[in-house]
């Protein structure tokens, strides 16, 4: 007997490309007899939110290696990974950190130019 759970989902680091480019989602999971856990959330995301290429986000039961999942700003490995029971108002963030979804695509700095002031080039 779980009440509908409201969650805030965030996708970043390239993962948002699979969700139409939208980074923040507020969703409400419907009523269920068993409490919601991460495994079922992933299945729900696959069915309801993933617009394309599910294999880039999910691999079997769990997320693909290269995607970091944070529950309330803590690594989900600390919370029990797939077995974590979701609670109302949880914040679940998925960040891609693989190379093609790199956060810092390319940051270039340079220093020690003749007048001693460091400058920054980013492309």
């Amino acid at each position: 007997m779980a009440a509908p759970i409201g969650l805030h989902l965030e996708f970043g680091g390239g993962a948002e490309l699979l969700f139409d480019g939208v980074k923040n989602h507020h969703i409400t999971l419907p009523d269920r007899s068993d409490p919601w856990d991460m495994k079922q959330l992933l299945v729900w995301i696959r069915g309801n939110m993933l617009k394309e290429r599910p294999e880039l986000f999910l691999q079997g039961d769990t997320v693909r290696p290269g995607i970091l999942v944070l529950i309330n700003e803590a690594d989900w490995e600390l919370m029990g990974e797939l077995e974590y029971q979701l609670q109302d108002k949880d914040n679940v963030a998925s960040q891609g950190y693989g190379q093609e979804q790199g956060l810092i695509k390319r940051v270039t700095l340079s220093s020690q130019c003749p007048d001693g002031i460091p400058r920054e080039i980013v492309d």
Partner: protein
């Protein structure tokens, strides 16, 4: 085009917050690079310890005054409108002439490096810091071996890249895995912009680089020591300094990546055997290619004047390979039209070819060092 503008606007807002001067250079600028981008410069004499201290003191003083005055450092910015549509077309032509995604990624990497080098030289920067993480370098190490750039591993993945003489490329982030960086950015709310690359949303086996990346990432999930093992191995790599390298002869360096030419081996090597078999199988195709290159000046309107129409003809496709290392040669061979390369590469290749011809002509009059 609009996506480009939005990304640039986002990047600009992040950069102005940092307060450092920034440069946004479109890749099309590659077509207006001078040939000096391919030539290693001479470095100044190493500064002694005392002058380093002086420089640091001076910097902290200047920084304080800057903060007091709240002056925004001179921001020089190349607007996106500066690159002409012709250059964009030429860039598209260049990338569409490369058949495989692997070669495209290699080409992109090389062009970016030349562009960064050129901007650094223009503004008198002596050092350039790249933001490659440990994980990214581990993937780069393995994929470089797979594409044939094993000889340049120490410069490509090491901390310090001294190939270019006057500009030193350092990689300060190579100690941190991408997971750590992600956590840090998340917790400290570092603003970031994600720009889709060549291999985003592509099939995993589309290129050697993405295949390697998938392999390493998957292995890392089960064996967390993968990336650090690869990193430790790369730390032990060093380039050997042969007397030939120190003579700074540009002929002994690859045209494109400036690492030592490794394709000049003796006649009994396996590499030579592959070359011979390739020549034998392509003999008929080569005659057709030479005919078409003669017509290029007439038909092809995007030829850069001064290159095709001068007395120096563009080197025939097989001749460019003598000036590049093995992996750059593979990339060049993958191209359907070599003339779509930016003009600075073609002119430098023509110059080297004429130089080698001259050397052959006066060979008997030259005194070697060991005479």
């Amino acid at each position: 085009m609009e996506e480009r503008q939005t990304s640039i606007a986002q990047l600009q807002s992040i950069f102005t917050e940092t307060g450092f001067p920034y440069f946004i250079v479109p890749l099309e600028k590659v077509f207006s690079l001078p040939t000096s981008a391919l030539i290693p410069g001479t470095s100044e004499a190493d500064s002694s310890h005392s002058s380093y201290k002086l420089a640091v003191n001076q910097y902290t003083k200047e920084n304080q005054t800057l903060r007091e005055e709240k002056v925004v450092c001179g921001v020089s910015q190349l607007r996106i409108e500066d690159c002409s549509a012709q250059q964009t077309l030429a860039l598209e032509r260049l990338f569409s002439s490369l058949k495989t995604l692997t070669a495209k990624e290699e080409m992109l990497q090389m062009l970016r490096q030349h562009l960064i080098l050129h901007v650094a030289r223009e503004n008198n920067f002596s050092k350039v810091m790249m933001g490659e993480s440990c994980s990214r370098l581990a993937v780069k190490l393995l994929s470089n071996i797979a594409v044939g750039r094993g000889a340049a591993l120490a410069s490509d993945t090491g901390f310090c890249d001294l190939r270019f003489g006057d500009v030193v490329i350092v990689r300060p982030m190579r100690d941190y895995s991408s997971k750590e960086i992600t956590f840090y950015s998340r917790i400290f709310r570092v603003p970031s912009v994600f720009i889709p690359g060549l291999d985003t949303k592509n099939h995993d086996k589309a290129s050697i680089q993405s295949l390697t990346e998938r392999f390493v990432t998957n292995l890392q999930a089960d064996f967390p020591s993968t990336v650090s093992t690869i990193y430790r191995t790369s730390e032990k790599l060093q380039t050997t300094k042969t007397p030939q390298d120190q003579s700074a002869a540009s002929d002994s360096k690859c045209l494109l990546c400036l690492c030592a030419l490794d394709a000049k081996t003796n006649n009994a090597s396996a590499f030579n055997a592959t070359l011979i078999s390739e020549q034998l199988s392509q003999r008929k195709l080569r005659e057709a290619a030479v005919d078409s290159s003669r017509q290029c000046c007439v038909e092809d309107q995007t030829c850069v004047p001064g290159v095709c129409c001068s007395s120096n003809r563009n080197p025939a496709p097989t001749e460019l390979n003598t000036f590049v290392c093995y992996s750059c040669g593979l990339m060049v061979r993958d191209m359907e039209e070599e003339n779509s390369l930016p003009s600075y590469i073609l002119t430098e290749a023509a110059k080297r070819q004429s130089r080698s011809l001259q050397k052959q002509q006066i060979m008997e009059f030259l005194l070697e060092d060991d005479d």
